[in-house]
């Protein structure tokens, strides 16, 4: 495989850290990925030489910053193959993207008696906004069940879809199980009922090529910090036909056309949804991350990740008493597990001491934990800078945990 992981690791300054004297093994990528130097440098350079507020400025710095900002929008829109860069709204992250749709689409298009379909494996960010909307609108939250393997019940989904369905909101990849949902099939079926579909792409977009035009999804939400970019920035892709009709979200500078005390008119897309001074440094860092991914080639990183994932799954399965939660046929990059009867928190505390970062707990998916009747899991999540040696370290660490607790 012509993928030189050791060379790539050098792009990420943090990976050479030591934790309690051990080399850092970072397997908490589903929570937040690490940043390559080019992302960090882009932010520093921006603040050291270009920083300015954007739009409407006639001075040099402001024009340069605006141009860089809007070019980044084009590049990111292009990365997901959006038809028009007007359809790419910058937000503070996936959570805000979903909230924006819940507010601006929901308050316009959802009425009493409608239903909104989500799945059992959603992240809280793709549950609670819809709960609140449903409560406000007297609409119904309809939840697609999943099987023991952690796959949605597609037939049950079909039965839930009807003319009163206002929206389907579903995750591309489950952050707690790693399940890859059949979103193309879901979108096609929903569209046959004229129902729009929102995809929570937080865990999808860094792992494979996302093409919103081909998927034909109506909304796609993602966070930069989960795809090697900075924190505090993310995006909402939305089809123009919906964005145009949706209510504004936050109100303030940038998103207006004309303000008088009597009447205010709103700006055109995408600015209508971007009130206030935008996070220019964040957007440029986001863009640098996208360019970094493009340069590595997402086909290559995907292939490498698949192989690593297979290796890790086999290695973990060989540990006696280890139980993997989520065994879907279509699955990537995330392995949630329990070790015998050991509480995830106990296991996590010890694994941490060996320099390995895994996450323990409910992973912001409590209903999913309830479904499996477990208090939480230990989650190891991988990206292309992880190695088989790191998997081996994890296995060793887990065996140490077993020895200590059993």
């Amino acid at each position: 495989m012509n993928f030189d992981v050791n060379k790539i690791r050098k792009d990420f300054p943090i990976l050479s850290q030591k934790i309690y004297g051990n080399p850092l093994v970072y397997l908490d990528n589903a929570a937040s990925t690490q940043k390559p130097a080019i992302v960090i440098d882009t932010i520093s350079k921006y603040y050291s030489g270009q920083n300015s507020n954007v739009h409407r400025g006639v001075h040099y710095l402001s024009m340069m910053a605006t141009e860089a900002f809007e070019n980044a929008r084009k590049n990111i829109a292009d990365f997901i193959n959006a038809e028009n860069s007007n359809e790419l709204i910058f937000t503070s992250g996936t959570t805000e993207s979903i909230n924006l749709v819940a507010h601006s689409f929901g308050r316009k298009f959802i009425s009493e008696g409608d239903n909104i379909i989500i799945s059992t494996m959603e992240h809280h960010s793709n549950i609670v906004p819809w709960q609140i909307l449903c409560e406000e609108k007297n609409a119904k939250l309809s939840v697609i069940p999943i099987n023991e393997e952690g796959e949605i019940d597609f037939e049950a989904f079909g039965k839930r879809l009807n003319e009163k369905t206002g929206l389907v909101a579903i995750t591309h990849v489950s952050n707690a199980l790693g399940t890859v949902n059949p979103i193309k099939k879901i979108i096609d079926l929903a569209h046959s009922f004229d129902v729009p579909v929102l995809i929570d792409g937080a865990q999808g977009i860094s792992h494979f090529k996302v093409d919103v035009s081909e998927l034909d999804c109506d909304f796609y939400c993602f966070s930069a910090h989960k795809m090697f970019g900075p924190m505090g920035i993310g995006a909402l892709y939305g089809k123009e036909k919906y964005l145009e009709k949706m209510l504004p979200y936050k109100a303030g500078g940038e998103m207006i056309e004309k303000v008088t005390f009597e009447k205010t008119t709103f700006n055109k897309l995408p600015f209508k949804f971007e009130a206030g001074t935008p996070n220019v440094a964040g957007v440029l860092g986001f863009n640098a991350a996208i360019n970094y991914l493009k340069e590595l080639s997402i086909e290559k990183t995907s292939a490498y990740e698949s192989e690593l994932f297979k290796y890790a799954t086999i290695a973990l399965q060989e540990i006696e008493g280890l139980r993997i939660i989520g065994t879907a046929k279509e699955k990537i990059s995330i392995i949630s597990f329990l070790i015998g009867d050991i509480h995830p928190f106990d296991a996590g505390t010890i694994i941490d001491k060996t320099g390995i970062a895994v996450r323990t707990g409910h992973h912001c998916a409590e209903p999913l934990m309830d479904r499996f009747q477990i208090p939480g899991t230990i989650r190891a999540s991988f990206v292309f800078y992880n190695t088989k040696e790191e998997v081996d370290s994890l296995v060793k660490s887990i065996i140490m945990v077993k020895n200590m607790f059993e």
Binding site: V58, M63, T66
Partner: protein
């Protein structure tokens, strides 16, 4: 009537006389002052081009196969730029307007005004002018 390409070259030549930005802008300001007046009846909100920090009114009519533009702005540099555009586009055939490339803008060192986010909206003006040309062309074909 000269062709668009020819007028462009002429303008580039004029600007070649200046080697610093101050002279260029002084010339633009002169051009702004000498912009032929637009009829007052056309200085209406309906003819405003949006996206400019200064107000720009643009009016178009169609005579003998040619599009005639008149325009005004409350900012003089903007008027200077409009003047250049009118010299180039007014009195030309719709197709020539639609297909024009307008390289002269960067050649005379005004590329900074070309940014899509530039507040004087040079791009909006050009877009609007081409749109008018398209409208007249379509009308003509449907007659």
């Amino acid at each position: 009537m000269m062709k668009i390409k020819e007028i462009e070259s002429q303008i580039v030549e004029e600007f070649d006389n200046f080697d610093d930005w101050m002279d260029k802008y002084t010339y633009l300001i002169e051009m702004g002052k000498s912009l032929p007046l637009i009829e007052n009846e056309f200085k209406i909100d309906n003819n405003l081009i949006s996206g400019c920090q200064s107000k720009v009114w643009l009016h178009a009519s169609y005579e003998n196969g040619k599009v005639i533009f008149t325009a005004d702005s409350d900012a003089i540099i903007t008027k200077g730029i409009i003047n250049l555009l009118i010299r180039i586009f007014s009195n030309q055939a719709p197709d020539d307007i639609i297909n024009a490339d307008l390289n002269f803008i960067s050649e005379i060192g005004l590329q900074e005004h070309l940014s899509p986010t530039r507040s004087n909206g040079l791009l909006s003006m050009i877009k609007q002018m081409k749109l008018y040309a398209l409208v007249f062309k379509t009308k003509m074909q449907n007659q």
